[in-house]
């Protein structure tokens, strides 16, 4: 017995993943996000002097009275084009990543992503419908496509939840299957609408691949009221998700209501996802990969993985958008292409390193 225990110990001592200080990792991710934001506003078709950018931002955003030294054109590019776009990219990335981490926790499934329960298919159908049939492109100050995508995403998740609950309570497997069914149905409906309206294919595809090119402050205003409360709820639920990780029976034995908790987390994550999808289209991979990166850095505790995913997701998408703008300038790559292009090999590398360590 002692011999086996001894061997097991030395084995795992070698293979145990190195745990880093969570505080340091968080601070590092925060700094990386700030650096990404600065790089995002600085780099672009019209070069801006870095010092001027920082001064103007301090002046305009923080009220520090320094002269930016930028020309009016430069200032307009900075404040009306780049800043909203970068801020929106950070919000969308953060929202998708934290939702992905929450979905993976709630379903105890490492392959879960924020689009799992029909949010993507619903948003796609909503956007396609209004692109094909809506006579007007705006509703009040907002574009009609974001509104339709937002509603579609919520309706998609709502249908999946209703179907899952009707079919078998709040078990995660039933919910997952309901999500798959709803997503398939909505995707089919979307394809049908698209086939009927081939003239609009280009615009629909552009939307589906994800885009931040037309980002405006009104988009930021549109997502904030949904994204911020949803993220706060998710951040608060981190410890509770740790309890859910031991399974429904054991979580109940620890005094938790797994069904209620799962519903709350799914609703919050779906709200964040719907808001993100509404303004950016379907950007893949962020919600799947970023939580795994976070887990590699701080271990499996959701109280750490959720906030870290938020920070990394924001920074990652700002950088991905920067790449999308720069590689083929003046043309732009769809950001969904960039996230998958960068994300997939990176993820494969992570898996490979993880497998070798094990």
């Amino acid at each position: 017995m002692t011999a086996t225990a001894g061997r097991a110990r030395s084995d795992s001592a070698q293979h145990a993943p190195r745990r880093r200080q969570p505080g340091l990792v968080m601070a590092g991710a925060g700094l990386a996000l700030v650096a990404a934001l600065l790089a995002g506003v600085w780099v672009g078709a019209l070069p801006l002097p870095p010092g001027g950018v920082v001064n103007t931002l301090l002046d305009r955003l923080l009220g520090v009275d320094v002269s930016g030294g930028l020309s009016p054109t430069q200032e307009a590019v900075l404040l009306q084009l780049r800043l909203p776009r970068v801020v929106l990219a950070a919000l969308v990335g953060a929202g998708l990543a934290i939702s992905g981490a929450a979905y993976q926790g709630v379903f105890r499934n490492p392959l879960a992503d924020p689009y799992l329960l029909g949010a993507a298919a619903g948003a796609g159908l909503g956007a396609t419908l209004v692109i094909a049939y809506s006579p007007s492109q705006t509703l009040g100050p907002f574009g009609i496509v974001p509104l339709a995508a937002f509603a579609g995403a919520l309706i998609g998740v709502g249908c999946a939840l209703l179907l899952g609950t009707a079919a078998g309570g709040s078990h995660s497997a039933t919910l997952l299957l309901a999500g798959v069914a709803v997503a398939a149905f909505l995707a089919a409906a979307q394809t049908l609408v698209q086939q009927q309206n081939t003239d609009d294919l280009r615009e629909v595809y552009g939307w589906l691949l994800g885009q931040l090119g037309r980002a405006q402050w009104s988009d930021v205003v549109l997502v904030l009221p949904y994204l911020v409360p949803a993220c706060l709820v998710l951040l608060l639920c981190g410890r509770a998700l740790n309890v859910l990780a031991v399974g429904d029976d054991e979580a109940s034995a620890l005094g938790v209501h797994p069904g209620r908790l799962r519903l709350l987390v799914i609703l919050a994550a779906s709200m964040a996802t719907a808001a993100a999808v509404a303004v950016s289209g379907l950007i893949g991979f962020v919600g799947l990969v970023v939580p795994h990166i976070a887990r590699r850095l701080v271990g499996g505790s959701h109280a750490l993985v959720l906030p870290l995913s938020l920070l990394i997701g924001g920074g990652f998408l700002v950088l991905a958008d920067l790449v999308a703008r720069v590689v083929l300038a003046p043309a732009e790559l769809p950001i969904g292409v960039v996230t998958a292009f960068v994300g997939a090999p990176f993820f494969a590398g992570l898996l490979w390193v993880g497998a070798r360590r094990r």
Partner: protein, 261 residues
């Protein structure tokens, strides 16, 4: 700790769909006692534990120190009953200490951070179960026996009055099984905890529990001290087994007998 509680099960019946798996089960475990539920495969042992915990819909009553558990808030129940399932779900990427600390969940608001007292209880429990040097190890890298100890530690961190253990020795070899049962016995004697467990190994059940309940086809067919319940006749009738029962040092031991032909 607060000592053990009395557990009463009265007229408990449960079904899977149309199939009745438990029929008017009646049991009492006195404070500080150890009742082992034995019975052939499929006799309803695990369902009985899960019904007592309120995970499985059932008719009938479960009372803890006279208080019915129906309608008791889940957190209150969790502060009283701790449960270790047959195959615990061991979360990924979590250290032993983080896992044991989950046992503190019913003692603080769900969203709140652990307090000093929580950390103290976790550290004490881990010392008692000799998990100290494994505290920062990922749970997944522990051996089977160590994992079972970690699950017990999590249950004890709940500071319960009753331990419900579903086959605590299921995947352990004899030596590790004895270690775990010795540990449960020690905790029961030191803290006066009430223990209600299922055990499929009849000899271990006979050596450790002070009462046995034999469950067969959803009914309690015998209940009492081990020597009264473990008889060759009962083993033949309910297990379809040929076995002698011999006197062991702390209770009856079951000795399977080969067919004559």
């Amino acid at each position: 700790m607060n000592g053990g509680a009395q557990v009463e099960v009265v007229g408990l019946s449960a079904s899977y769909g149309r199939m009745r798996v438990l029929e008017s089960v009646r049991l009492t475990v006195e404070p500080g006692g150890w009742l082992a539920i034995i019975g052939p495969n499929g006799s309803g042992k695990s369902t009985l534990l899960r019904s007592i915990l309120g995970f499985h819909p059932h008719q009938g009553l479960v009372r803890i120190d006279g208080l019915p558990t129906t309608g008791m808030p889940r957190r209150d129940r969790a502060r009283c009953l701790a449960y270790a399932p047959q195959t615990p779900v061991l979360p990924d990427g979590v250290t032993t200490r983080e896992y044991v600390a989950l046992g503190r969940t019913p003692h603080r608001p769900l969203l709140a951070a652990p307090r000093g007292v929580d950390r103290q209880v976790v550290a004490d429990v881990m010392d008692r179960l000799e998990l100290g040097r494994l505290a920062e190890r990922p749970l997944a890298t522990l051996s089977g026996g160590e994992q079972q100890r970690a699950v017990l530690a999590r249950a004890l961190a709940q500071q319960p009055r009753v331990l419900l253990l579903d086959e605590p020795t299921a995947s352990l070899d004899l030596g590790h099984a004895q270690q775990v049962l010795d540990l449960v016995d020690r905790l029961r004697r030191q803290d006066g905890l009430t223990v209600l467990s299922t055990l499929h190994d009849l000899t271990l059940a006979g050596q450790y529990a002070d009462r046995l309940a034999l469950l067969s086809e959803g009914r309690v067919v015998a209940e009492g001290p081990p020597f009264e319940v473990l008889t060759p006749a009962a083993l033949h009738t309910h297990y379809g087994a040929r076995a002698d029962v011999v006197a062991g040092p702390n209770g009856p031991a079951v000795l399977p007998v080969r067919s004559e032909t």
